[in-house]
């Protein structure tokens, strides 16, 4: 079950929809799907480092910022149209197994976010840019990145839920 106890879409349907959106971005607008680069676009509004003044970042803002806003809107509509939008701190098996309160979750999520932001930008992409687009385009670095982040996630989750908190 996902949010509001809805049953999830079939994986075939979800995968096909993601493929269609990825291809539409390229075919209609000549854009390569990639979400984590959007973090750089957002940072580039306030940070002065040369890293954030690259052409790829500054030029990407005009499409990635609206796309990122769409992601938030999509999540909102999904909740609103499927049982209602209810702000929540509930966190599934984290609550059942680890059981930390709000402050613990904020620290934990901020730390996780740090790893996500630093890691995706160091690897040059995330699940979308490397995992979906890169693998579909048979790019060697994307295969290496995907194996690396799947490996990192696997070990971490196994340690958390099979070793430290059981």
């Amino acid at each position: 079950m996902i949010l509001n106890q809805l049953p999830p879409l079939h994986w075939l349907a979800a995968g096909a929809a993601i493929a269609a959106i990825t291809l539409a971005l390229l075919f209609v607008a000549n854009r390569r799907l990639g979400i984590s680069t959007g973090f750089e676009d957002v940072c580039s509004f306030v940070l002065p480092q040369p890293y954030f003044r690259r052409a790829a970042v500054v030029q990407g803002r005009q499409w990635r910022v609206p796309f990122l806003c769409g992601l938030v809107l999509g999540g909102f509509l999904s909740a609103a149209l499927g049982g209602g939008w209810h702000p929540t701190w509930a966190l599934g098996m984290f609550d059942r197994v680890i059981g930390w309160g709000v402050a613990g979750k904020v620290v934990w999520m901020f730390a996780g976010g740090l790893f996500i932001g630093f890691g995706t930008r160091l690897a040059g992409g995330c699940t979308s840019g490397h995992g979906i687009f890169g693998l579909s385009n048979f790019e060697w670095p994307s295969l290496i990145a995907t194996v690396s982040f799947m490996g990192g996630g696997l070990v971490t989750t196994q340690l958390i839920y099979r070793v430290f908190f059981t």
């Binding site: 879409l9 493929a19 607008a29 005009q62 938030v72 999520m109 996780g112 976010g113 385009n137 490996g151």
Partner: protein, 148 residues
């Protein structure tokens, strides 16, 4: 065009939300091998995107006839190191970058902390890039004014 990006982003966000890709338990289930859903989604997306990409690249033009090409990502030591670090974060937060934003839209309040962390992490990388560039054999920064 801005509207198009908002619409495609909204559709993407909706699908991520409804498929389990933005759900903490589904992500842990994937890494625990107790839930096949995410493997099915990513696998299907790749299998269907690959032939479409090939066709679009062969055509070399967008729908409206503009030049269409795919920018490739560089390969360096950061690909592995960054991938491993991102994997740790994906497991901890139960979200990759897209689902962070989707979860904020859904009203999952802790996702705001994850977004704050991700932006600080990105800023940190931008600050440290000149120092990491040589040891990780990463490409020089192409600084330019851009059009945005």
């Amino acid at each position: 065009m801005t509207i198009l990006y908002v619409v495609l982003g909204t559709l993407f966000g909706f699908v991520l939300s409804r498929s389990g890709a933005a759900d903490y338990d589904f992500i842990q289930g994937m890494f625990l091998f107790t839930n096949f859903q995410l493997y099915g989604i990513i696998g299907t997306a790749v299998v269907l995107t690959a032939p479409g990409l090939w066709l679009i690249k062969r055509r070399g033009r967008t729908l409206l006839g503009r030049h269409c090409s795919v920018e490739l990502k560089p390969s360096h030591r950061g690909t592995v190191v960054g991938g491993l670090i991102f994997g740790i974060g994906w497991s901890m937060a139960g979200m990759c970058p897209g689902p962070i934003l989707v979860n904020i839209g859904e009203g999952k309040l802790y996702a705001v902390a994850a977004l704050a962390g991700a932006l600080v992490g990105t800023g940190l990388l931008g600050e440290l890039y000149p120092r990491l560039q040589q040891p990780l054999k990463m490409p020089a920064l192409a600084v330019g004014p851009g059009e945005g």
